[in-house]
């Protein structure tokens, strides 16, 4: 199960799990904050759709990762290893408990308690950091990587995850509250972008090290693709803020199109994140070559 095809499938499953869980958290976050006082019934179906995607992708990821752990060549070998992965590995216990937290968050949101629901979903999002390099390593470097991963996940989930709910609200709210919502979303987006840039820079130093690796390794190339996607997202967000938001509601159709484009770019960035988490960081490859 170490073939490139299975690596890509695991990357896809992990990326789609992030897409679903980010969408769920972002939707509940918007309901708990910027959309508080503007009840939009369509937010709940959006949350349930996101949860469904997150859980289906989690199930696929669980199965594929188990096959990889056990070096299984048949489905029966994989199924036999599932209980061990569920009980005895950090991956299994974390994925199952995070999935349970996402289900609970959606139920709490369904019963109109958006703030505790948002807190639960947020915890489920950032807990994935303990499955990354920072969560696995000990010492100062591990602590720095863990902290940057938590901040990176929190800011990307808050920004990208809120975009579907923002699109929905902008489409359905009356002009005045829709314009106010867009104004209020802007500083939140800027804070998230600054956090993403800072944490990405730290991760670049610790995991990639050499700028040349951006062009000579699969990990670096994927990181570069993520960076370019982020740059495109920031450009679009700046365009929305400077050119379109001040002229609402006349620019609402263009703004909706741009948010759709941002959602598509966000999807690409998260799929790239799913891939990069399967690859070997260049700093590690250098160590392997030197050992």
């Amino acid at each position: 199960m170490d073939t490139p095809t299975f690596t890509l499938l695991r990357a896809l499953a992990r990326g789609l799990h992030m897409v679903g869980s980010f969408g769920l958290y972002g939707t509940i976050f918007m309901a708990a904050t910027l959309l508080r006082g503007h009840p939009l019934p369509a937010l709940k179906p959006l949350a349930w759709t996101s949860l469904t995607l997150a859980l289906l992708a989690a199930a696929a990821w669980f199965l594929l990762q188990t096959a990889d752990f056990a070096s299984a060549t048949t489905l029966s070998d994989t199924i036999a290893a599932l209980p061990i992965v569920a009980q005895d590995t950090r991956f299994g216990t974390l994925l199952l408990s995070r999935s349970a937290a996402l289900i609970l968050a959606t139920l709490v949101f369904q019963f109109n308690f958006p703030r505790p629901a948002a807190a639960l979903a947020f915890a489920a999002i950032v807990a994935e950091s303990w499955l990354g390099h920072g969560g696995a390593m000990t010492g100062t470097i591990g602590t720095i990587l863990l902290a940057t991963s938590i901040a990176h996940l929190a800011s990307s989930a808050t920004w990208l995850g809120s975009l579907p709910a923002l699109h929905l609200a902008l489409k359905r709210l009356p002009p005045e509250p829709a314009a106010r919502l867009t104004y209020n979303f802007s500083p939140l987006g800027i804070a998230c972008v600054l956090t993403l840039i800072l944490t990405a820079a730290i991760q670049f130093i610790l995991l990639i090290g050499n700028p040349l690796a951006l062009f000579t390794t699969a990990y670096g190339a994927t990181a570069l693709a993520k960076f370019l996607t982020l740059a495109a997202l920031i450009t679009l967000a700046a365009l929305n803020r400077e050119r379109l938001t001040p002229h609402l509601p006349a620019t609402r159709p263009q703004l909706l199109r741009n948010i759709n484009l941002e959602i598509a770019l966000g999807l690409a960035a998260l799929l790239a994140a799913g891939l990069i988490l399967q690859l070997e960081p260049p700093t590690m490859a250098a160590m392997a070559a030197g050992s």
């Binding site: 170490d2 990762q65 990889d68 752990f69 056990a70 061990i84 005895d88 590995t89 950090r90 991956f91 499955l131 990354g132 390099h133 969560g135 696995a136 390593m137 000990t138 100062t140 470097i141 591990g142 720095i144 990587l145 800072l198 820079a201 730290i202 670049f204 130093i205 610790l206 995991l207 090290g209 070997e280 960081p281 700093t283 590690m284 160590m287 392997a288 050992s291």
Partner: protein
């Protein structure tokens, strides 16, 4: 803060790039060591926490016969370590081949030798 400034910060702080994934940091018996007493246990320490149920370690003598008596065991309180019980009765060079699964789900592997001489 720009990337060069961060690089300067980490340089001044004495930090180096991360070696993500589970790499062997040390072992007991040590890599390449020569012992006069046969070890009864092999201890492997890694840069990251390891998922011991899915790690594999074989220790073979010069004829390729395995001398480990059980699968790798977790070391209580030490998530980055695992131990393997050994039964070595004759002097010779032994080869350790390990396959580790880190808690970040990535796999690594490696091998090394140690020698046991007659006391």
């Amino acid at each position: 803060m720009r990337t060069p400034a961060l690089a300067l910060f980490f340089t001044l702080a004495g930090l180096s790039p991360a070696f993500a994934h589970a790499f062997l940091t040390h072992s007991n018996p040590p890599v390449g060591s020569t012992l006069t007493t046969p070890p009864t246990n092999l201890l492997l320490s890694y840069t990251e926490g390891v998922e011991v149920p899915f790690c594999q370690v074989t220790v073979t003598d010069s004829a390729g016969t395995p001398v480990q008596t059980a699968a790798p065991q977790p070391v209580p309180g030490q998530p980055t370590e695992m131990s393997v019980p050994l039964h070595i009765t004759t002097p010779g060079t032994y080869t350790v081949t390990w396959h580790a699964v880190a808690v970040d789900t990535h796999k690594t592997e490696g091998s090394f030798k140690f020698t046991v001489t007659a006391p």
